[in-house]
Amino acid sequence: MKRFALTALAATLSLGLFAGSPKKLLNVSYDPTRELYQDINQVFTRQHKARSGVDLAISQSHGGSGKQARSVLDGLQADVVTLALAYDIDALAEKGRLLPADWQKRLPYNSTPFTSTIVFLVRKGNPKGIKDWNDLIKPGVSVITPNPKTSGGARWNYLAAWGYALRANHGDPSKARAYVQELFRHVPVLDSGARGATTTFVERGLGDVLLAWENEAFLAEKELGKDKFQIVAPSVSILAEPPVAVVDRNVQRHGTAAEAKAYLDFLYTKEAQAIGAKHYYRPREASVAKAYAKSFPKLNLFTIDEVFGGWQKAQKTHFTDGGVFDQIYQPR
């Protein structure tokens, strides 16, 4: 009798826990997307509830892209990852077998619903007269950028600088290398994530120019006042593609495959694209892109595939231990 009562109790408890409880998704993302996904999650969970009647709770985790990927590999239960660059998600496929290697083909536009680029944020009035990449290595100019080993944004910064130098020197890699080496001599401190670098620049007042995600620069300008900072668009920069993916192994375990897929599909809708544009992420969808065209400076953008032959190759050449970055950067 007692045993029966216990079994009944356990059954009710587990029913209560599983049937009635809302489904949960965990979005593990990179540093500057906090505000973006806060807004998107709100709209998506409302729509999901209206459509299916089931409550969905979406949790967020943010940090440097490389660090976040490392956490997911170490067991952080991400249902979806929305990271700064494809290489970090490749690592999940390669080292952890958490999703198939061809994950980037599963969603439109290389699985990147929004793009961004790298611009300069300078102090009001641009006292050091910084207009283009070449001005960053002038004597007395101090540059803030995070650590390319841990931060996705920092890797885009580095590659944007390298790509500029290649173009300026008719594709001569040794001159590009010399330029980037000189550039990092002007960097007094390497933060671990993009947001950390932004606070170093705007709050602690270090440096004359911040190399930043376009969205991060706009946000800092908006939050902290246009009377303090201004954005400088260089002549040429890189098309940054921060991709998204469902983590197959985790959603199978959580039973959230359908929700995770719907969540990422939602990012491509006009509604979500417009939310992205409001947060200064460049939309992919043509009509939304046109509507917000005026918000974004016109820049000459090159892609990583054109200049570096893709992320795998760029990572191997520049950012692995003992790679070009390790060779040219000496901490002070």
Partner: protein
């Protein structure tokens, strides 16, 4: 020889006092004032609004849960360890005493990484735990483990000197009068060390509530789930919500101030108890 001749000249004393005061003002008082100034400068309404956020509540709750479990575990362990070290002689006692201090000397970040290496999906026990759907890191157990680790030595370290100073006479007397060892512990040993024990618990709680580094490594930073109060302060600061960040920081600072107050009260009690113990034989 008069007392005055061994004293330093007046100006030396004055200078030393001023230097000490200036240092304290810059290193301790100014940051304290700054925290409360930043938190309150936009008015009380905004200050309290910071605590109405569900994420802030979740962070406070998680910090309290983790600290409570850590303090209970460390109190039991601290009592056992201090008892062992004070009352028994055995091989490797010095080594054990040194081991006790490991959490003091190991960087908290390293402590956190150790737990990821042990219990992470790629770690030693990772595959075994994963197969059984048990989560340690990036979940509550990992946060409790990390908190317990960094606050481990406080209770043992606080009561060990008192236990050693007390000697064994009272306990031996109790045993000879027929008390069981359990009864001796509750009636003789524990009352004798109670103020030192409280003091250890207070320090342990303060450390557990304030821990950042180790918890940051094992947290996974899931908002509303695995962010403790110190981690929440960092997040708010990084999101340009300065008033809320400093409001939460002021809460942590307040617990620190209460800790200091309790600690000095307890030290006063410990000294009083020691004086009484000295007076009785005379």
């Amino acid at each position: 020889m008069s007392a005055a001749s061994v004293r330093e000249p007046f100006w030396v004393r004055l200078l030393l006092t001023l230097v000490a005061l200036a240092f304290l003002a810059v290193a301790l008082v100014a940051p304290l004032v700054a925290v409360f100034h930043q938190a309150l400068k936009d008015g009380l309404a905004l200050y309290f609004a910071a605590f109405q956020e569900p994420e802030a509540w979740a962070a406070i709750r998680l910090s309290l849960v983790a600290a409570t479990v850590a303090v209970v575990l460390n109190t039991v362990f601290g009592l056992a360890a201090a008892w062992l070290l004070a009352r028994f002689r055995f091989r490797g006692k010095g080594f054990l005493t040194t081991l006790l201090d490991i959490p003091f000397v190991v960087s908290p970040v390293v402590a956190g990484l150790i737990f990821v290496l042990l219990f992470g999906a790629q770690g030693w026990f990772g595959p075994w735990l994963d197969a059984r759907d048990i989560r340690i890191v990036f979940a509550l157990p990992g946060i409790i483990l990390a908190t317990t680790f960094v606050s481990l030595p406080f209770v043992a370290r606080e009561i060990l000197p008192t236990l050693q100073a007390q000697g064994t006479e009272e306990e031996e007397a109790a045993r000879m009068l027929g008390a069981s060892s359990w009864r001796t512990f509750w009636r003789i040993t524990l009352p004798n060390i109670r103020w030192a024990l409280f003091s250890g618990i207070v320090l342990c709680s303060a450390r557990a509530l304030g821990e950042f580094g180790a918890v940051s490594v094992v947290s996974g930073h899931i908002r509303g789930e695995t962010n403790t109060l110190p981690l929440h302060v960092e997040i708010l600061y990084n999101e340009y919500q300065f008033t809320a960040a400093f409001a939460c920081a002021s809460l942590l600072t307040l617990t620190a101030l209460v800790t200091l107050l309790l600690k000095s009260l307890l030290e006063w009690r410990i000294r009083a108890a020691a004086r009484r113990a000295l007076e009785i034989p005379s």
